[in-house]
């Protein structure tokens, strides 16, 4: 009988064995992480961190190391919060050849540079969906220019810049026919092209203009970076889908063992363009600029662009084989090493710029890709990082000769040495990291202090908020041999690439308010005495002023249903941080935030007769609640006289 108990005991142990599951991913925060990210109230962060907003179309600004959100800069998406894209002054910023497009997918950012170092002047941002590049002025944190890119789709490998901000580039991710040809999708190979656009940036004003577009075979340009130092004249784009698939890319664009890094000698291209080797072709695209003097944006439709065909321009472009659908294409601070990250590859190839030049010189080619010479893989290769992890995506660099690569599949950051390509350290991310950012990590002078990983999946990291969860950023201290996780914080939108610079580079240049005497807005009201209401046909211009705590005029009568009423609100304040807001009841439009010394216009076309209160929406003073007024809208055809003012009360007996 006793022997029966042996198997019984075995069964009884089942519960124990079942509980012996795999270990949980333990939280990796150790040591003094808290003190390293604590920025005491009243103290400033050390870095400005500009983070792309992905599908929210905006750029967010965080402080590092605290991870505090400082600002959301509206760029490619309308922003009812401050009237961007709604005010008459900013509507033109979002104009395209297809009218106003209120949204875009904002992926990458690049801070302007001089001699390969951040100069704190401008921030460039790309729009992936409707190809555009924006320039943000870092004195005002305002979007001041948006340039549409013709002959392209999926402007992904953008807006990366050359070392002196000579050019900002755009590259096609979704190849399309040039011009407006109506061709079958299946004629991809013959008719579809990708283009690499070089947009010149004026040294002083920052104004952008498309210098030339290089026409490339149909493929997907993914990411890019400009050369540095010895490789200054070159730009490198990663590519995938050199299989030229046009359906089920997930499978069909993953068949070849190698795609290419496209190396473009932009100095040569510039010479060819100057020498008249290009072809000017018709192409419509919008060029929108915000004039800070006039405080108004204008949109101009340009009509042609210069195309460079590699066939007519020898020695301008070379292809370097790179394993398995490369994604990131990153250049080390010395400008010698080009890191391609095959997102499906089990290694990271590192190419050597000097070897590439040597290979070109000695013609070590292995054929061509639609006419573009392909350099032999081994001839361009410096070495491969073996077993780095799974799904390498992006690489940033520190100041000590190390590279940091994000691993999407194995969800980690891997630190490796540029010298011997040995893996030095790995740190888990929570979860599925995309881009990485080290302040100055893509310049000649990276900082070696912090690294931020931008994660796609957050699952159990924060309090749950229904099916849609925040994405996240994770801050690591990289000053020691081992990376140390310091902070985990949710982000808004989907962060892709980011930039960061020392706060000292821009904090003292900030505009605090606009000088009212320099206000060049066509509709400015220079003082309350100038406040006015002017009718011209069914257009009514209200010249309104705002100062604590009243609006002039705050009673308006004699406007009718169907009138186009333009409220030009001038904020007369001349002190920092005293904006006024402006909103009208039942206005199917957004509100305005008007900075001190600024004039902004809100349009209202009333559809119904009635009394419409309007008021200041930005708590400006102790009497903010009193800062309001009334608009009387009378029926069409009625004879209510035009009347406006502030502080005038009627004799009540006279009204009866």
């Amino acid at each position: 009988m006793k022997r029966i108990f042996l198997p019984l005991c075995l069964v009884a142990s089942v519960a124990f064995v079942q509980s012996c599951k795999m270990k949980n991913t333990t939280s990796a925060v150790k040591g003094d992480a808290d003190s390293k990210v604590y920025v005491a109230p009243g103290k400033y962060d050390e870095y400005y961190n500009f983070v792309s907003g992905g599908f929210n179309g905006q750029v967010s600004v965080y402080g590092l190391p605290s991870g505090r959100l400082l600002k959301l800069i509206p760029v490619f998406a309308v922003f009812p919060e401050n009237g961007y894209g709604y005010s008459e002054e900013t509507k033109a910023m979002l104009n395209t050849t297809n009218g106003q497009i209120p949204w875009d997918d904002q992926h990458h950012l690049d801070l302007s540079q001089t001699n390969g170092e951040q100069d704190g002047r401008w921030l460039f941002a790309n729009a992936n969906n409707t190809p555009r590049i924006a320039r943000i002025d870092l004195k005002t944190f305002k979007t001041v220019e948006i340039l549409q890119i013709p002959n392209s789709a999926g402007n992904h490998s953008s807006p990366f810049i050359t070392e002196n901000t000579e050019y900002v580039v755009a590259g096609t991710r979704f190849s399309v026919p040039l011009g407006a040809e109506d061709v079958p999708i299946s004629s991809f190979k013959q008719n579809f092209h990708s283009t690499a656009s070089f947009i010149s940036v004026d040294k002083n004003s920052g104004n952008m203009s498309i210098a030339f577009q290089i026409v490339l075979p149909g493929m997907n340009l993914d990411l890019s970076h400009g050369g540095k130092g010895p490789s200054h004249d070159w730009f490198f784009f990663s590519s995938y889908n050199t299989e030229q698939a046009y359906t089920l890319l997930e499978v069909n664009a993953s068949q070849k063992d190698k795609d290419y890094i496209v190396a473009v000698n932009w100095k040569k291209a510039e010479e060819y363009a100057k020498a008249g080797k290009g072809k000017k072709v018709p192409a419509d695209y919008a060029h929108n600029t915000y004039d800070e003097g006039k405080q108004t944006a204008t949109s101009v439709i340009e009509h042609d662009v210069l195309l460079l065909d590699p066939k007519d321009c020898p020695d301008m472009i070379y292809m370097i084989p790179c394993p398995k659908s490369p994604h990131g294409c990153d250049i080390d601070p010395s400008g010698e090493y080009i890191v391609g990250s095959g997102k499906l590859a089990a290694l990271i190839p590192v190419f050597s710029f000097s070897k590439i030049i040597k290979a070109i010189g000695s013609k070590q080619f292995e054929g061509d890709f639609q006419g573009i010479p392909i350099i032999k893989y081994e001839a361009a290769l410096y070495g491969e990082v073996q077993k780095p992890g799974l799904g390498p995506l992006h690489t940033e660099f520190d100041d000590k000769g190390n590279a940091y690569t994000s691993m999407f599949l194995s969800s980690e950051v891997v630190k490796w040495s540029l010298k011997d390509l040995k893996v030095l350290d790995r740190a888990p991310t929570y979860y599925s990291v995309g881009h990485l950012m080290i302040p100055g990590g893509d310049t000649r002078k990276p900082s070696g202090k912090y690294l931020v990983a931008y994660n796609k999946i957050t699952k159990d990291r924060f309090l749950p908020t229904g099916p849609e969860l925040a994405q996240s950023a994770q801050l690591y201290d990289i000053s020691g041999d081992k990376m140390q996780l310091l902070l985990d914080y949710p982000t808004i939108g989907e962060p892709h690439y980011a930039q960061a610079c020392l706060a000292s580079l821009i904090q003292d240049k900030q505009v605090k308010y606009y000088d009212i005497n320099k206000n060049g807005n066509e509709f400015v009201t220079m003082g309350e005495k100038k406040a006015n209401v002017v009718r011209k046909g069914n257009r009514v211009d209200v010249y309104m002023t705002a100062i604590r705590s009243h609006l002039v005029p705050d009673n308006i009568e004699g406007v009718f249903v169907g009138d186009d009423i333009y409220f030009h609100v001038t904020n007369l304040e001349q002190d920092w941080d005293i904006p006024h807001g402006f909103a009208i009841k039942n206005n199917p439009n957004a509100e305005l935030l008007i900075m001190p010394g600024e004039t902004v216009t809100l349009k209202f076309t009333p559809q119904k007769q009635g009394i419409y209160p309007f008021y200041c929406t930005d708590f400006c003073s102790a009497l903010h609640q009193e800062m309001s007024g009334y608009l009387r809208v009378s029926p069409k055809g009625s004879n209510t006289p035009l009347k406006f003012g502030t502080g005038e009360t009627a004799d009540t007996s006279a009204q009866k």
Partner: protein, 191 residues
């Protein structure tokens, strides 16, 4: 013909009860864990069903070209329950006939079913892990994805743990009981 001892008869009832748990609990479980699946993924194999995160696992596996795991593709889910059921019915017969020889045959039958099941499971895992779609997006040279038959294995970014579940342990218990009782009966026979 020697008759069964009393412990032998009791063991028949216990074995039948142990095997009945196969209809109540899963037989085997495969747990997966990856960084982006902090709670892990789990698949339970029942006598006649697959449960757990099968759709999620299928979704992941398509990247590396593994076939979809589909309940309909397992003939085992028909003949395995039938075999176990027949085995239990045969147990009643052994209990009724009370002869040692039938107990020995019954044990042998169990060993045959168990060996075949493990072989079948192994072959399924082998085919599943090796027969990859050559057009899969991710192809790691030299890599196959055969899950472990029993125990732990690292497959790309996933840790995989394969082990018996509750009914599996009862099944193993039944086997051990049968083996030890057969020896017990054999030794009683000699005396």
């Amino acid at each position: 013909m020697k008759t069964l001892t009393k412990p032998g008869k009791i063991s028949i009832v216990i074995v039948m009860l142990f095997l009945a748990t196969l209809w109540l609990f899963p037989l085997w479980r495969i747990d997966l864990r990856a960084p982006q699946y902090p709670g892990g993924l789990s698949m339970q194999i029942w006598l006649n069903d697959l449960k757990g995160d099968v759709p999620i696992i299928n979704g992941l596996n398509h990247y590396i070209g593994m076939q979809e795991i589909n309940k309909k593709d397992f003939r085992e889910f028909i003949f395995l329950p039938a075999a176990i059921l027949l085995f239990i019915l045969f147990g009643f017969l052994v209990l009724l006939l009370k002869k040692k020889i039938y107990y020995y045959i019954w044990t042998a039958l169990f060993i045959v079913i168990a060996c075949f099941s493990f072989y079948d499971f192994y072959m399924w895992e082998y085919n599943y892990g090796h027969h990859l779609n050559p057009h899969a997006p991710i192809r790691v040279p030299g890599m196959s994805y055969q899950p472990p038959l029993f125990g732990y294995k690292k497959l790309l970014n996933f840790e995989v743990l394969s082990q018996p579940d509750i009914a599996g342990w009862f099944f193993i218990g039944a086997g051990m009981l049968l083996a030890s009782m057969t020896i017990y009966e054999w030794k009683k026979n000699e005396k």
